[in-house]
Symmetry: C2
Subunit: 335 residues, 2 copies
């Protein structure tokens, strides 16, 4: 399942910029895939693209309407339906990361049937997976892991991919979450897979490859998050990474949506190596990615230096300082 | 979702005893719930109950026809349909652990609709779970874990429950697999839950209880199985056990369906304590359950003594020697 490019990003009536996080992620990392944005009356978000209606977007060659906005409860509101049906009638596919399947709306299902357009529900994989084998596959893999959910694992992976490609390496971002799938144009929201098939789905996402090829795998959750650690572990076993980067958000006090404290970075490194050895005995940490947005430049540099010294690997903020030092270490460790 | 008792166990045309493992498990642990068995021509299995047809079973009060046989691929063969429809028409519900939903057979779906009878697909939970909270709940919990899949975690949990009940304790087996659900009459096949909800489903299976109540939770998979460790970890976090028992099958050379070696019992204890601490800092190992069926009585006793000495907890074969020593230790450690 590959989502056809280019995209028209649909922001609907997103109340604010945060609600349009999915669209913003696509624009940040795949600007060339986006012909414009479409907003409904009352929309409070703006991702800075040309404002297009359906027919203007179709004229510019848009092939997929991407629902770039989240809605409370993951439900598709009635006021979006006209635009979605119009996009289908104008020849576009539709991609959505909402919990509710697009085809659950009868008018959308009917329009897709009538025109033969694809509906991509990136949270609901139609792929049938096998259980994981745990067998070593050719190709190289680096995985981002985290001290918590939502600490920048996707951005760190995309920044790794960008830095590696800028050096002429054959590197590919492998998406494991709904926004990541829209950014990659393919992948699997691994938290939506049936539990028996987590590691099997991870093996499918990052298949056997050329020995010099790098898959840069988007991590999910945290081994220390009581709600999601099972997903994190299955992904770690299936991805069988040669190397990993720990992502951390220093202002976070407790883990997302629960009362558990954020684990120390060292504990995450230790637990990831201990568990990851099962499918890749050579697994090692090659860097730490810290979100320093809340710190001044001097404070940020001091925090990164301290983390680097404490754990013996380069530390950087992927957005602020880039991933060069971490990629240097990655290539030293896994030549 | 509670499965109504008593059961008529349907063995179909199971080629051999192994194919009727589900029925055998129900008879072993819940003989009082079974009014009889029903076999089709060519059946090579026998679980030792009275041979009944549908009308004789209905006359004895059977309330649910339990499909006690597995079939290659989990598909319901056409030659079983007449008996299932007849059971529904005679007033019985139907419970199945096959991959294929009962209602996928039009005649079965139609009969259930017509009569208002329930179809229980124990692999396909209809329950909607929340994500796990990781918060400590009242009540006591003991979980069985394993060096591999299929090493006796269900039997060890049921034997624990039986021993605890024989001492007058308020103990309840909590099922997490399809056969376990049929034996308990309720529960969730946790490997069939969407990955995001593994620990949430485990919390639902073993809810807050009286401080003196014991839930004896059936374990799944192994933290060292590359296909299923995510399920095992999510279950461990959600069950938040005060104590666990490690189950082991000493004749096994590699882990089930993969090439990975069986981990040492000590590694399983260590990994379970390390991971389980996240939701229950007091977690501890209270025993080792070893399947000694392949050993003479003397050899078995020597193997159990060696395991007990090596790990400092009682070791027993739940079927051969019972769980008294392990329950003694459990009550000492968690009074």
């Amino acid at each position: 399942m590959e989502i056809t490019k280019p995209y028209l990003l649909f922001l609907g009536d997103a109340p604010d910029q945060l609600a349009a996080k999915t669209a913003a992620g696509v624009v940040d990392w795949r600007p060339d895939w986006c012909v414009g944005q479409m907003r409904l009356p009352g929309c409070g978000a703006d991702v800075g693209l040309d404002e297009l209606d359906i027919s203007a977007a179709a004229a510019r060659g848009a092939k997929t309407l991407v629902i770039g906005v989240v809605n409370a409860g993951g439900v598709l509101p009635d006021r979006w339906i006209d635009a979605i049906v119009a996009a289908i009638d104008a020849g576009m596919d539709v991609a959505s990361g909402l919990h509710m399947p697009l085809a659950a709306v009868p008018r959308i299902a009917e329009a897709a049937r009538r025109t033969g357009r694809q509906l991509h529900d990136v949270r609901l994989s139609r792929e049938r997976f096998k259980t994981g084998t745990g067998e070593k596959r050719p190709g190289k893999r680096v995985l981002t892991v985290g001290t918590d959910c939502s600490v920048g694992k996707k951005y760190a992976a995309l920044a790794l991919e960008a830095e590696m490609r800028s050096r002429g390496l054959d590197a590919e971002f492998r998406a494991t979450g709904q926004t990541g799938v829209l950014i990659a144009g393919r992948g699997v929201a691994i938290d939506a897979v049936v539990a028996d098939f987590i590691s099997g789905a991870a093996e499918w996402i990052t298949p056997a490859a050329d020995p010099d090829h790098w898959d840069v795998v988007e991590g999910q959750g945290s081994l220390f998050h009581p709600s999601f650690a099972g997903v994190t572990l299955g992904l770690l076993h299936g991805a069988q990474p040669d190397a990993f980067v720990v992502c951390h958000e220093p202002t976070r006090k407790t883990m997302r949506n629960v009362k558990h404290p954020i684990p120390p970075i060292g504990a995450v490194i230790e637990a990831t190596v201990a568990a990851g050895r099962l499918t890749n005995p050579e697994i090692r940490c090659v860097g730490i990615a810290i979100n320093t947005a809340a710190l001044s430049e001097g404070e940020a540099q001091a925090a990164l230096d301290a983390a680097s010294t404490a754990h013996g690997v380069p530390a950087s903020d992927p957005i602020r300082f880039g991933m060069a030092t971490i990629v240097d270490r990655l290539l030293e460790e896994v030549p």
